[in-house]
Structure formats: C-alpha cells, structure tokens
Amino acid sequence: MLAGPARGAELPATTAAVLAGGCVNCHGPDGRAQGAIPGIRGLDEGYLRARLLAFRDGRDAPGSVMTRLMKGHDTHQIEALAKWFAQGGTQ
C-alpha cells in the first residue's frame, strides 16, 4: 500500500491518501454517498477535475463548502483527488 506506485498525479500515494481523507468525511467512505451529499467514487476523472477547478475558481456554486475548501487546494492536488476517486477511492 505505502510501497505501491504513486497513483496521484505528481503526488506521492500517501499524500494523496491524506488529501482524500478529508473528502470522505462528507462524501462517504471511499466516496460512497451516505445521504444528500453526492457520492464521488468511480466518477470520470476529467469530470471530477473540471468540477473541482470550477469550484475553486468560483464558477460553480460560489458560496458552497466546496468552493471554500477548493480555494485551499492547488491544481496538482485537485488532479490527484480526481484521479484518486475516479480509480475507486482506495489505495
């Protein structure tokens, strides 16, 4: 697991895992929905990347929690998160 190849773009797997750890507290374990907040597991990587960037740049739901959170993430981190959840949300 820790020794596995880095799957997050330009981020080590452990760091991608730590980043993704924040997401699952609302989006559910491995990104599987537990209620009104949508699941993100297995969604298309390009879609996730575009959506997260739109949140960050205030082009999607500007007052939402997602906008406030993504403003603290750089593009590399967003790409790693998109890849992580597109690939199933586990290491």
Binding site: V18, G22, P29, I37, G72
Partner: protein
C-alpha cells in the same frame, strides 16, 4: 529494570533525527511493531482504522471504556428531540472486523520510558508508538462553585452521555415560561460553535412545547464561531427567545451556585435559572497529563507535521486535547489529524517518506430542521506551525436563501452519516 530494553533502544533510535535513514522497526521486523491508541472517538477510532489500512501487518490496539461511543456532534439534536439517543451511539465491531484489538478499559497511567500503559483491568500493554486521543476533561477548579458535584444539578452536557440525558430531562420537567441559562467559556474549548447550536436546538424544543420560555446565554467572550449567521438564524426562527450577552455587556460568569440555580457575573449581576447549563473551561483528558505530554496551558503541544507530541518522542496526540490552532477542536479535525498521524506513523515504522501534512475542516451547525450553516477551513504545516491557507475556508454566505439553508441542513445530516461510517466502519 536498569539496562535499556531492546524495545527502548529501538524506540530511541526511531525517535531521533536519524530515524528515516535507519528504519529500526523494519529491521526488527515491522510485523512486531505495536501501536496502542487511547480513546475510541473521532480521533482514536480513525487512527486505528487508517493505521491498519496503511500497514496491515501492524498490531493495533484501541483502549476505550465505553462499549458504544456516543458522539457530541448531533447531541444538540437529541436535546431538540430531532434525534434518538441510540442514533448517537457507535460500537466497535467495525474496528474488530478490520483486525484491531479493542479493549474496553480505562487507561490509568503511562510509563513513557518502559513504553507501557497501565489499564483499569490490570493489563499493561507495551507499545512502540502510543496515540492519545482522550478528548477533554472539565477543569473543576476554574469556575468558583462549579465542581463535579455541581454538574449533577447544573449539567455541562459537554461530553455526550448521562450529562446530556440529564439536561434533556431538566428541559422536559421545566415549566413553560422558565429561563434556560447557559454559561459559555472563553477560548479554547471543545466545539466552538456548539453552545450556539445548542441554544437554537433548545429554542426549537421550547417553541413547540414551552413557547413562553427564554434562553439566556452568558458568554466570557465577545466573538464566537459563525456569530453573524447564528444571530441572524436565531432571530429568523425564534424571534426574541434567545438573548446572547457577551463579555463587553457583563456576560462573563465568575461564580455558580448550582443548588440555588443562580450565577453571578464579573460585575455582580445575579441571574436565576429554571434550567442551568454550565459549560466550564476545559483541558486535555487525564491520560495526557499522566503521559507527561501536557504543557502549562493544560493542552498538548504537537508537531504540526505528524501530531507527535513535543514533550515525548513516540507518543502522538489527536483531537480536542491538542494545541492545534488555528484548527478548531472539532470532530472533523480530530478525524483528519488521525489520518495524517496514521500515515506518518506507518511511514515512520516502515522507513518510508512521510506524507505532506495537509488538514481540512468542515463543521455544520443546525439552527432549525431546515436551516443549516457551515464553516470550512484548509490547513497545512509550515515550519513547525499549522497555518490556514490564505483565501480558503470561511462561513456560509449571509445572504443565502431558504433553499441554500435547507441544503446545508441536509448536508449536515449526510456529513454525520459519512464521518461516523468512516470513523467506526458502518
């Protein structure tokens, strides 16, 4: 024992600056490494599960007295009548299924040099790494008149358990037209928005069952988490039922008489309550003091990169017990600190590079069943300190419409289900 044990030598090697170059535990066989975690809440249970995910070969033991852990998050909804008591309880079968040993006992003492823990059962498990996630203890010496005996008359209800149920019974027994008085401490304390959400949830109950009642909040500070949103929401849903008095208006309580249900403020005003809820100043849980990881503030200073304690190498601390400002003392934060610490401990024991220290927080507060608000933050370690990323985070918009508030109320419920599933394993 006078000579250093093998474990102790390995431990001090791993604790030194050369630990990454010399993965002592790996050479000793990583399968023999044992991590013991004290506390089965959002910090401790998460750390246990994620340690096993990162390094399945580790022996992971969790110490928690309660067979079911009741959460402070959503306990205000229980006071409101919006949640059952049982819905706040979470068992440990999910941890056991993941291969974690769970011992239901109190941790009484820590021997940091021998690397052992003493439990109320008499067991003395040894550890290569110790993780303390003990939550808070009340400071019974901090507010004159308010000690543990007084809390049985004027509950704090700031640990979810019998105190919470006592406060609910007192609300039920109170006559319509009574005054619910809440005493709120200065920072830092567990769950910064908690008292203000509680005011709203008590108001929700009163509005339906005792509409002539009043809620008086006596606060030791002038500002609080999501203040503008709370003041706006209280007014919108409950009119003048909730009155907040801050420090500048003599809100700081300096004496409590739990028998008479009265409190006295700094400038000598006396307030009489029908139900008195005193949230006293707090400190790190008992076992942190026994471990020698607490400083003069009563809290645990930690390294921002790993949440290893600054005082004792090999002992980590998580959650409300730590000094981690600007991160708040929230369940979400305890959970993300645990994930970082689990990754850092696994990497250290396996002789691998540590993860980047990144943390997030999202806290929802409920003002009414269809009226939620939130605060979020993104943090990272920078030169030994924790900083909030500039431009990130913040609270819900002040001018949001009813649809937005209703969505955040639903998101709060969804958050609770998700973080509990992540922490204890559904």
């Amino acid at each position: 024992m006078t000579g250093p044990s093998r474990r102790r030598v390995l431990g001090s090697l791993a604790a030194g600056g050369a630990s990454l170059a010399l993965p002592a535990i790996v050479r000793a066989g990583a399968g023999s490494a044992r991590v013991v975690i004290v506390g089965g809440g959002f910090g401790g249970a998460t750390a246990a599960r994620y340690l096993k995910r990162h390094a399945p070969q580790l022996q992971v033991t969790l110490i928690e007295p309660a067979p079911r852990f009741h959460t402070c998050p959503f306990s205000n909804l229980y006071l409101a009548g919006l949640r059952s008591w049982d819905s706040l309880g979470h068992g440990f079968d999910g941890l056991r299924a993941a291969g974690i040993e769970v011992i239901h006992a109190l941790a009484d003492d820590v021997d940091a040099s021998r690397r052992t823990l003493r439990l109320s059962t008499g067991q003395t498990p040894g550890w290569d790494r110790l993780v303390l996630s003990p939550g808070v203890d009340m400071r019974w010496d901090a507010l004159p008149g308010y000690d543990e005996a007084a809390s049985r008359l004027a509950p704090h209800a700031w640990k979810a358990g019998p105190q919470t149920q006592l406060l609910r019974r007192q609300m039920e027994a109170m006559e319509d037209g009574g005054s619910f008085v809440m005493v709120i401490p200065d920072n830092p304390f567990r769950c910064p928005p908690g008292p203000y959400e509680r005011a709203a949830m008590v108001a929700h109950y009163f509005k339906r069952h005792k509409p002539r009642s009043k809620i008086l909040l006596l606060d030791a500070k002038d500002n609080f988490s999501k203040k503008g949103l709370f003041l706006q929401g209280w007014k919108a849903l409950y009119g003048d039922m909730i009155e907040w008095v801050g420090l500048a208006d003599d809100g700081r309580v300096t004496r409590v008489d739990a028998g008479a249900l009265t409190v006295e403020t700094a400038f000598g005003q006396l307030h009489k309550a029908a139900v008195l809820n005193v949230i006293p100043p707090q400190k790190a849980g008992f076992i942190a003091q026994r471990a020698g990881v607490v400083d003069a503030s009563g809290w645990v200073p930690v390294k921002a990169e790993s949440f290893e304690t600054r005082q004792v190498a090999g002992i980590y601390a998580l959650g409300d017990a730590t000094l981690a400002a600007p991160m708040p003392k929230s369940a979400f934060v305890a959970n993300t600190q645990a994930k970082l610490a689990a990754a850092a401990i696994a990497a250290d024991l396996l002789g691998q590079a540590p993860p980047a220290a990144l943390y997030t927080n999202t806290c929802y507060s409920l003002i009414g069943p269809d009226y939620g608000i939130s605060v979020a933050g993104v943090y990272r370690a920078a030169e030994g300190r924790i900083i909030e990323l500039p431009g990130s985070g913040g609270v819900s918009p002040g001018d949001a419409d009813a649809t937005f508030r209703a969505a955040e109320a639903a998101h709060g419920a969804s958050w609770y289900a998700a973080i509990c599933a992540d922490t204890w394993g559904a």
